[in-house]
């Protein structure tokens, strides 16, 4: 896509805002519409846009395959480990109350961590799927 100057410039302009919006949706999901699922997809969409305009190779430089694969497993592990942490602290699995001093704070922290895990897994899976589809014919 070397010849589409407008697309390349606009992509570079838009990309930080898309990623910032993804982070906003991720961390503001407690108070407004949003959460890990949506944020993960928006975050992935930013990188997919970059990969479509600048090529998968350039995107792979920003996000090496190892980080993506780690993200797929890491998000799910984070989710499951939050549950295990509650078990260790003497509560039921995925009952976040003992994570902090009061019930509200514990629940808040638990929801935050769990949503983060969801976001990481969803974003990594979406980007991995796109990259695998895009590189299938290159061998």
């Amino acid at each position: 896509m070397k010849e589409y100057l407008v697309l390349r410039v606009i992509t570079k302009l838009l990309l930080p805002f898309i990623l910032l919006f993804g982070l906003y949706v991720q961390f503001h999901g407690d108070f407004g519409p949003g959460g890990g699922f949506q944020a993960g997809v928006i975050f992935a969409a930013g990188f997919i846009l970059y990969a479509m305009v600048y090529g998968v190779k350039a995107a792979r430089k920003v996000l090496p395959i190892g980080i993506l694969r780690g993200g797929i497993a890491g998000g799910l592990l984070l989710y499951a480990l939050v549950g295990v942490a509650n078990l260790m602290l003497g509560e039921n699995y995925l009952n976040y109350t003992p994570l902090a001093e009061s019930m509200k704070e514990g629940q808040h922290l638990g929801i935050f961590l769990v949503e983060l895990g969801v976001g990481i897994t969803v974003a990594s899976v979406m980007m991995t799927v796109f990259f695998t589809f895009a590189t299938w014919r290159e061998d």
Binding site: V25, G29, D30, F31, G32, P33, G34, G35, G36, F37, Q38, V41, I42, A44, A45, I48, I65, R69, I72, A73, G75, L76, Y79, A80, G83, Y93, L94, Y96, M103, K104, E105, Q107, H108, G110, I111, V114, E115, G117, V118, T121, V122, S124, V125, M126, T128, V129, F130, T132, F133, A134, T135, W136, R137, D139
Partner: protein, 187 residues
């Protein structure tokens, strides 16, 4: 006013699906699928499901359209003319649809505050979310806290699907795919 928006958007969705069923140009079908998802997102906003609308707009209209187009690039753009008459499927679909419509007549009227769905746990969540978790978005609270197991399972499904795509198309298959095998045999 809200009722009219509801009626018109749902009517547009029905028209879009009709066009999807008729067309044989797969690129047009996929783009109509994206429009269909966007209409679904708007109807979700009308029905107060803002979180769902958000997800549908980003996932249905965004990512899944991209994936479909990517697949089209790897396969083919035009569907072949169907060889069979669509008579039998039409009969099956009409009978099933008639049974389902008969079933909906027993359901609660749209927007009924006394509907069975609003009787048990929903009021509990609405009353206690602020007390238990202190966050205003009930959907997030139910998703991550009250029904945390459920969401853990869903994330596992996404994880498994991602692994499945890597296993089917990942770079480790390089050299064992049929097209490269054929190319090597020709050489």
């Amino acid at each position: 006013m809200e009722a009219w928006i509801d009626i018109i958007i749902l009517f547009f969705m029905a028209v879009t699906v009709f066009a999807i069923a008729r067309l044989r140009n797969l690129l047009a079908v996929v783009m109509l699928g994206g429009i269909y998802s966007l209409l679904a997102a708007s109807i979700f906003v009308v029905m107060d499901a803002v979180d769902v609308a958000f997800t549908e707009a980003s996932v249905g209209a965004g990512i899944s359209t991209i994936l479909f187009i990517g697949t089209l690039a790897l396969t083919t753009r035009i569907e072949k003319k169907p060889a069979h008459t669509p008579l039998l499927p039409l009969i099956v679909v009409c009978i099933t649809g008639a049974v389902l419509i008969f079933g909906t007549l027993d359901a609660a009227v749209y927007g009924d505050p006394q509907s069975p769905a609003m009787q048990d746990v929903a009021p509990y969540y609405l009353e206690n979310t602020k007390k238990h978790t202190g966050i205003p978005n009930v959907v997030t609270a139910v998703l991550a806290s009250y029904r945390g197991y459920d969401t853990l399972g869903e994330v596992t499904v996404i994880f498994t699907a991602g692994i499945g795509v890597i296993l089917l198309l990942g770079s480790w298959r390089r050299g064992i795919s049929a097209s490269t095998r054929r190319k090597e045999e020709e050489e």
